[in-house]
């Protein structure tokens, strides 16, 4: 036996405790700093934009050469763009992800496809915009329209939807699939009855996050379907539309004599829309997680 008691505090343990609290404090402060930009942005938008944010503002069209009136057509336009792009990208993305994760083996072909998806997700949105002009507006003769703009947004969001869906599918334990297969269930029966019901939360979360991304993007819709100003609401996907993001750009840079509150209020609506979509996804995820079955 040496002299030290088994639970004694020594210089070494004291120093280790001090380091522990220093590291913990540093990490905490850095994390807290993350909230600052968000609070600053929201604060600024609310301070300058809130006074102009009335029901009238939300429900009327811009007037007097954009220097007065509201943003109703831009909200409608953004809903069109997001809705149509989602209707295209979500099914294609989810189906492709199911194929890649559940059917395609691991060989050079699928590796190339996976690499393409990762790279496509990293392409800047302005490049997607130019592709959209070339492919949809000109080559497919869809003109500048909601359809062209939505397809461009769909191309932009597709790789991320595929990636997040694949991740959600891969999170379902392999043992569930094997248990189904040995019972004579086909791959599709296994996917339909076991894999999809247990990955739907992750799939939806990924899709919804892309909705908010599509709502905020400006470049892809600017050249393909969003108009500077339209005196009427779009009637079909072949019409042009106005869009919140584009309108904000217009108000801020293209029109002289706009009262300061208008772009701020527009930005507030856009940010509010994006945040509420994200919030929906968080609520949905926690709801579905509470019903998780394993």
């Amino acid at each position: 036996m040496n002299g030290a008691l088994p639970f004694a505090t020594t210089d070494v343990t004291r120093a280790s405790r001090r380091r522990e609290s220093a590291v913990r404090g540093l990490l905490g402060i850095v994390t807290a700093l993350l909230i600052l930009p968000l609070l600053a942005i929201l604060g600024l938008l609310i301070r300058h934009g809130a006074p102009a944010l009335t029901m009238d503002f939300l429900l009327t069209a811009p007037a007097a050469g954009m220097t007065a009136g509201g943003i109703f057509p831009t909200i409608v336009g953004t809903l069109w763009l997001v809705g149509v792009s989602l209707a295209v990208a979500a099914p294609i993305g989810v189906l492709a992800a199911i194929y890649l994760n559940e059917y395609a083996g691991d060989h050079w072909g699928t590796r190339i496809v996976n690499l393409a998806i990762v790279n496509l997700a990293g392409v800047p949105s302005i490049v997607h915009a130019l592709f959209g002009v070339g492919a949809f507006v000109l080559f497919l003769h869809l003109g500048t329209s909601i359809l062209s703009a939505s397809l461009t947004l769909a191309i932009m969001t597709l790789p991320v939807i595929i990636a997040s869906t694949k991740e959600a599918l891969a999170a379902v334990p392999m043992s569930f699939r094997q248990a189904c297969w040995v019972l004579g269930a086909s791959r599709w029966q296994t996917i339909r009855h076991v894999v999809l019901p247990n990955s739907i939360q992750g799939i939806l979360t990924g899709v919804i996050l892309q909705v908010s991304r599509a709502a905020g993007e400006t470049a892809p819709v600017m050249f393909t379907g969003a108009a500077f100003y339209l005196p009427f609401l779009p009637q079909s996907v072949h019409d042009q539309c106005m869009a919140l993001s584009m309108h904000l750009f217009t108000l801020s840079t293209q029109v002289p004599g706009v009262p300061e509150a208008l772009p701020y209020a527009t930005a507030l609506v856009l940010v509010g829309l994006v945040m509420s979509v994200n919030l929906t996804s968080i609520v949905l995820r926690s709801y579905l997680r509470s019903r998780r079955k394993w």
């Binding site: 043992s175 094997q178 040995v182 019972l183 269930a185 086909s186 247990n198 079955k293 394993w294």
Partner: protein, 254 residues
């Protein structure tokens, strides 16, 4: 005496994952209505053998299988749809896998996938399978509860009930007791003895004494090769054909 035709005839079976050979030139018969115990240390190829018999090997990327396996005289690789084969072979894995659905739905899953819709028939079937697996009395009041929330031993019996749901002619149990307490293990062993009346059973086990208790015949595998197969009493006697069999069952290596 006429020897009964083998339920499963394996001839010259070899299997590999990529370059790693897991089974080499295995020839083995499994007779109708017997319990064939398969023993051997980890990595001997016991599980791979099961994967070949029900063609789960198709689902394992990079797994290659050569040689012949006939079930009731029919070559398994000639089944156009492996599901038709798998529906006749029940399988229980080492770790219990309750599917993320209710206890009832776990057992009704395979019959439903096979097209059975009649609620009354399904209910009867589920009760019969749960009874056969010695689980019914413990869960009869909560068939709607999640199968994944049962204890490990109960989940393993649920897995057995599920494997019985298609009335298989062959039941493969792969080290079923590995994650199960001794009491449940003994319960399941009783179940297996009972099931022998109705089906052919391949019992892969890491417990040599379990093979001795249950096996009509016992096969020893080492490094992907079949060392010896014979009546269990022979395998556990001093008259083994191969000295390694004697050494293994005596626990001299493992």
């Amino acid at each position: 005496m006429v020897r009964p035709a083998a339920k499963i005839e394996i001839r010259g079976l070899s299997a590999a994952y990529g370059d790693r050979v897991v089974l080499e030139d295995v020839s083995l018969d499994v007779h109708e209505g017997e319990i064939l115990a398969v023993i051997g240390p980890a990595g001997a190829g016991k599980t791979s053998l099961l994967n070949c018999i029900n063609r789960m090997s198709d689902m394992i990327p990079g797994m290659k299988v050569e040689g012949s396996i006939r079930v009731d005289g029919r070559e398994v690789r000639d089944f156009r749809d492996a599901s038709d084969l798998r529906r006749r072979i029940g399988v229980v894995f080492p770790l219990p896998v309750g599917l993320p659905m209710s206890i009832f739905d776990n057992v009704a899953f395979a019959p439903r996938m096979g097209g059975m819709r009649d609620k009354k028939k399904l209910a009867e079937l589920v009760e019969r399978c749960l009874r056969q697996a010695a689980l019914f009395d413990e869960v009869k009041d909560r068939l709607g509860d999640l199968g994944t929330r049962l204890s490990g031993g109960q989940q393993q019996r649920l897995t057995i009930a599920r494997a019985l749901s298609l009335n298989p002619e062959i039941l493969c149990l792969d080290e079923f007791s590995i994650a199960v307490d001794p009491v449940t293990t003994m319960k399941i062993e009783e179940v297996i003895k009972e099931l022998k009346q109705h089906m052919t059973i391949i019992l892969v086990t890491n417990l040599v004494l379990q093979a001795r208790r249950l096996g009509d015949r016992t096969a020893l595998f080492l490094d992907g090769r079949l060392v010896e197969v014979g009546p269990t009493e022979t395998i556990f006697s001093r008259q083994t054909a191969d000295v390694r069999t004697f050494q293994y069952v005596q626990g001299l290596f493992g």
